[in-house]
């Protein structure tokens, strides 16, 4: 078991008057006073209050709906000449006020997989995993492997999307077309095997809802991974591309998660802990970069595309004959649990308290955890670097809004 690290605040939520804190690797809630929690520099972000800040000076407003962004978000920026001196992100415009509390697990799962559609395999596996541990349901090894497979396919699709968006921002139109073409191949393969391009409806508590044919998945993934490797090598030799992302938005923040953290030299990856999915039965190469810039984040993702391919090959080797659709046993146990999963964006945290229905839920997404890193890194950047900075983090606004 990885030890709790109380230097890094992973999550915080308020119940009536008291705050509950969750620290990195921690498996219990800690009651804390707000004045102590506010000593953690990421507290305002974790608590979803970052958008109340002042950017200082004369503000330039960008958003909430703007052609260059995929989602709605507004930035209030102070500039000095062409440099961004500070920025306040306002991410609540599109907040859907998702409420898991008061729902039965069946309904809550539908919402959980729609917190962030492109990370749906991760969210649904996380929700099911935590609910199962509270309910005392042990899903079969095949079910856990299928979830792992889905998460790794999702990682490849999402990492390709981030690298593609970076190329798009850098006007590398031919490379952009190739990379989005590869992502389409992966999405189609996911759709053929799992019935849906974003895995909606796949996971259920204790089981996989519909059987999956695993034959040939690894070969299809291999072809995409190899082609991407070739493209990436080619892109890496393009000074035009590299110049735009190297030394752009450099940041080192210990509370960051996922590829953003690993690009800054931090060794955080939920796949390396004894978590909800059996990653420890498989081998993959863990990689870190140290510059913390947009190039490092892209390097980490390009490496992870390859490593996910290797995990998929190992998993499907064990899975080709498995029937993953066994029904779950019924349980009415109650209790609470904390779980984490490594979504494509990084550690995603869920606290769940179950009674007759869900009494309390709290989710801290990877995008919320990394938003502070983006805000910090962008300060001092020239405005023309904005897109290369934003896209390199692969943030999703949909998962920044609170879930209760």
């Amino acid at each position: 078991m990885t030890e709790e690290n109380t230097d890094v605040l992973s999550g915080a939520f308020k119940d009536i008057e008291a705050w509950n804190a969750i620290f990195r690797n921690g498996t219990t809630l800690r009651r804390m006073q707000e004045n102590r929690l506010s000593l953690y520099e990421n507290f305002d972000y974790i608590a979803g209050r970052a958008e109340r800040g002042e950017s200082g000076g004369k503000e330039f407003i960008y958003g909430p709906s703007s052609g260059g962004m995929l989602e709605s978000i507004r930035f209030r920026m102070s500039t000095e000449g062409e440099r961004i001196s500070s920025l306040v992100p306002e991410f609540s415009f599109k907040n859907r006020s998702l409420k898991l509390g008061g729902k039965d697990t069946e309904t809550a799962l539908l919402l959980a997989e729609r917190i962030n559609g492109p990370y749906s395999a991760s969210y649904s596996a996380l929700f099911c995993g935590v609910a199962e541990s509270i309910l005392g349901i042990q899903p079969s090894h095949e079910v856990r492997l299928t979830r792992m497979l889905a998460c790794e396919l999702e990682r490849i699709a999402c990492h390709l999307f981030v690298v593609g968006r970076l190329c798009e921002a850098a006007s590398q139109s031919v490379a952009t077309a190739h990379i989005f073409g590869l992502r389409e191949k992966i999405l189609r393969m996911i759709s053929r095997r799992f019935g849906h391009r974003f895995f909606f409806g796949l996971n259920d508590i204790g089981r996989i809802r519909t059987p999956v044919d695993f034959h040939g998945i690894s070969e299809s993934v291999d072809a995409v991974v190899n082609e991407f490797g070739d493209l990436w090598q080619h892109l890496s030799s393009s000074t035009l591309f590299i110049d735009r992302i190297q030394r752009t938005c450099p940041v080192h923040l210990e509370s960051s998660v996922g590829p953003a953290a690993r690009a800054s030299g931090y060794s955080t990856d939920e796949r390396l802990t004894e978590g909800l999915l059996p990653y420890s039965d498989f081998s993959f190469n863990f990689r870190k970069e140290y510059e913390g810039d947009s190039l490092s984040r892209a390097l980490i993702r390009s490496h992870e595309i390859e490593e996910s391919g290797s995990i998929i090959a190992q998993v499907t080797d064990q899975l080709h004959k498995a029937d993953a659709s066994r029904p779950a046993s019924i349980s009415d146990r109650r209790g609470e649990g904390i779980g984490r999963i490594e979504s494509p964006g990084g550690e995603t945290l869920l606290y769940l308290r179950l009674g007759d229905s869900i009494e309390r839920a709290y989710i801290r997404s990877s995008s919320l955890a990394n938003l502070q890193a983006f805000v910090r890194g962008i300060s001092g950047a020239v405005f023309t670097d904005f897109a290369f900075a934003w896209e390199s983090f692969g943030l999703w606004v949909c998962e920044m809004g609170g879930v209760i």
Binding site: R96, L111, A177, R197
Partner: protein, 209 residues
């Protein structure tokens, strides 16, 4: 640059033959579930009535999969009114009013070389001021309602609103749809709709008489 071109040639044609030819690889659970056997089904979206599925409500959740199977045929959108500008290029502006990101991603897929909607004279514009069609994705959140109305006001006439995805059409299981805020001229069902469904809707909306 030369080597990029060679790479492109080596890969051959990736672009779908759709709409001239059939759509390949239609995602099964974006197509209409059809009743196969009797039995109790609890549809969380209230999409099933008298054994038939209303695709404007369906959220592709597979809760009916014991008794219903998707027919695998691309779903047609409802075109209440179109814009009829087949003689010039068609500009769209996407606004995210409260999505989970998947609908945005499918609209974005229209740029990829497989769907390549530019070949059909369709283009994304970075401002609603130049848009013929407003693609709305997600439920209409409180925070985005004003921005949605403002985007619509900024568009020149004639203009159409394309409610894309179940959230935008009916609110699905999450919130409220476009209806009641703006007139939805085109409804594209799916959670999310497949890129084919969106492409088909754009073509039919543009070419409507």
């Amino acid at each position: 640059m030369k080597s990029w071109v060679i790479r492109g040639l080596r890969k051959g044609v990736l672009t779908t033959r759709f709409p001239k030819g059939d759509a390949e690889d239609v995602p099964l659970w974006t197509t209409k579930p059809v009743k196969m056997s009797d039995g109790e089904v609890r549809c969380p979206a209230g999409a099933i009535s008298d054994g038939a599925v209303d695709m404007n409500r369906c959220i592709s959740c597979r809760r009916c999969s014991e008794h219903y199977m998707p027919d695998g045929r691309p779903v047609h959108s409802t075109v209440n009114s179109g814009i009829s500008i087949a003689s010039r290029s068609f500009h769209i502006y996407m606004i995210d009013t409260g999505s989970c990101g998947a609908c945005n991603s499918e609209v974005h897929s229209l740029h990829n070389p497989v769907y390549d909607f530019n070949r059909l004279g369709m283009f994304v514009t970075n401002t609603p001021r130049h848009a013929d069609a407003l693609i709305v994705v997600g439920v209409v959140s409180e925070g985005m309602e004003m921005a949605l109305k403002a985007a619509y006001e900024a568009m020149p006439s004639p203009k159409i609103v394309i409610a894309t995805g179940t959230c935008s059409i009916s609110g699905g299981i999450i919130g409220k749809g476009v209806d009641g805020v703006l007139p939805a001229d085109v409804l594209v069902p799916g959670c999310p709709p497949s890129p084919y469904a969106i492409l088909d809707a754009l073509i039919r909306a543009r070419d409507a008489k």
